[in-house]
């Protein structure tokens, strides 16, 4: 039997994402790719996969899967998701080997909205327009035709890496990113807003609307006023651009955004904070802070340095005790201090 991952259950919005689909934005093709590029890169690194290799982006809907035909080395990183391997709790950033028939369950946990499952193997799937990344609405990528993963899907694997031994936690402190302040660079159309509106934009407070998705994070908060109209002649849209349409409700354009558009963009989230924003759940409150371009570049450089350093792992302490184990232990034996 050839090696594969088999999806046992998948919530809505669980998709395959590689680094993205590049070179075709001029034809209206969005890059897609990970919503949280730093967590994606961390997971790939821990799995021993090449940078930008295709991984599974797990949404709040969660994922349950098993291996078939071979032991599959893999790694998980992202928000503080609940991860269990055959009932054993693992830390939210972890490396493990999924044995055939073993069940790995990933569910929304204490915090965060995305978790990446990276593979110490290559997905044997044909790319569409050069990539496996799955953008909403384009009909491209993933298992073909751009649909999200679902129960019963089989992901064929090749070039499997060596099994990684016992499950281990990843020491990745750069993923502990508070999401209360998101840094932005003003523009490209900040001049369509008076100074007091730029201040109101920064102060918020904002929360992520439940209507948000991989295309756009719609922000609930104060309504912003334009000084000189809200329609512009369409121009390019970068990931993280914050569009303010006529109703004054800002929209952050994310990985699956349209590549051009005709509304004013007050500011753009810096690259290093895209993941921070992507990990916010509906209702989470935050504000914006404007920073100069050089700070955004420095933050990128710091991220790159963190990823380039050797990745430390730590053993997993069993936190979920199996009934068999519990039955074998006399829990009231001896003296406990009571704390």
């Amino acid at each position: 039997m050839s090696a594969a991952l088999e999806i046992l259950a998948a919530g809505p919005g669980v998709t395959l994402q590689d680094a993205g689909r590049f070179g075709l934005m001029r034809f209206g093709v969005t890059a897609a790719g990970p919503m949280d590029p730093l967590a994606f890169a961390t997971a790939n690194r821990a799995a021993g996969a090449p940078a930008g290799a295709a991984a599974i982006e797990i949404s709040l809907g969660g994922l349950e899967l098993t291996a078939a035909g071979a032991s599959v080395p893999l790694a998980l990183a992202g928000g503080a998701f609940d991860i269990a391997l055959d009932g054993m709790r693992l830390p939210p950033a972890a490396r493990l080997t999924l044995e055939p028939g073993a069940r790995l369950r990933v569910r929304a946990g204490a915090a965060g909205a995305r978790c990446y499952l990276a593979l110490g193997a290559r997905l044997a799937l044909p790319p569409e327009l050069g990539a496996l990344a799955t953008p909403a609405r384009s009909g491209l990528g993933g298992l073909g035709g751009g649909r999200a993963l679902a129960a019963g899907d089989r992901l064929p694997l090749e070039a499997l890496g060596p099994p990684g031994g016992a499950p281990a936690g990843l020491v990745a402190p750069w993923l502990d990113r508070p999401g209360d302040v998101i840094r932005v660079i003003e523009g490209p159309q900040a001049d369509y807003f008076a100074d007091d509106q730029i201040l109101a934009f920064c102060a918020g407070p904002w929360s992520v609307s439940p209507r948000s998705d991989r295309m756009a994070y719609i922000l609930d908060g104060p309504r912003l006023r334009h000084a000189r109209g809200f329609n512009i002649i369409s121009d390019g849209i970068a990931m993280g651009a914050i569009q303010v349409p006529g109703d004054g409700q800002p929209i952050v354009l994310m990985a699956d955004r349209q590549v051009t558009g005709g509304y004013t963009k007050i500011a753009t989230v810096i690259g290093a904070d895209l993941g921070r924003l992507a990990q916010l759940r509906p209702g989470a409150r935050f504000r914006f802070a404007t920073v100069p371009l050089k700070d955004a570049v420095a933050a990128r450089r710091a991220e790159q340095a963190a990823l380039a350093a050797p990745l430390a792992i730590e053993p997993v302490i069993r936190t979920a005790l199996s009934p068999e184990l519990l039955l074998g232990v006399n829990l009231i034996d001896g003296v406990t201090s009571g704390d």
């Binding site: 034809f27 209206g28 384009s138 002649i233 970068a238 349209q258 051009t260």
Partner: protein
Amino acid sequence: MIEPRFLDSGEAALVVEFGRTVDPAIHDHVLALDRALAAAPPPGVRETVPTFRSLMIHYDPLIIDRATLVERVRALEAVPAPPRCAVRWTLPCCYDAPFGEDLARIAEMAGLTEAEVVARHSGTELRVYMYGFVPGFCYLGRLPELAISRRATVRAPHPPNTVLVADGMCVITTVSMPTGWWLIGRTPERLFAPERASAFLVGVGDTLRFEAVDRAAFAALEARAAAGEVVARREPPA
């Protein structure tokens, strides 16, 4: 010579803006810079996106810093760009019912007869200004005599390959989608066909002329397009 404005959309995208209107002269500047960058791409430039009045340059700021990139663009602006090699396309379009369902309304709003609307739409050489929204969805202009307002309410989704007009512009859709534009006809050609060797047919800066075909011709061309054939005609350069 237009002195461009340099705008930042974050630290990894530079907007080089040549104006704030839809104007072939402004668009020519966008295309010229796009060609110049393609001919001599500076390290760190990942991708460029031409639009109506600006070029978005996606770049890696850890490879090329903003000041160096601006300097490179200014240097390219100071010398003539590589010559334009736009392709001229003729694209079949059926204006008959049910495809041109809004033809009567368009004619009324434009103060023309239906035949005149078709004659203006198919008789004008249109420029491909940019893509957006979804793969293969392109904006064509201009059609000054069809400078009509958009719908007050959005129309329910229509099939792909529908040709729409409003605001003196024309778009060709590649997916089923709701729209605020007016339905003037449908083309049998697929401007986006991912399985075809040329997934995208027309480039930004190409010109395109619609050619009216009747229902029978449309059906025959649509069958050929579905089989993977390109049914638009590539014309010799002007």
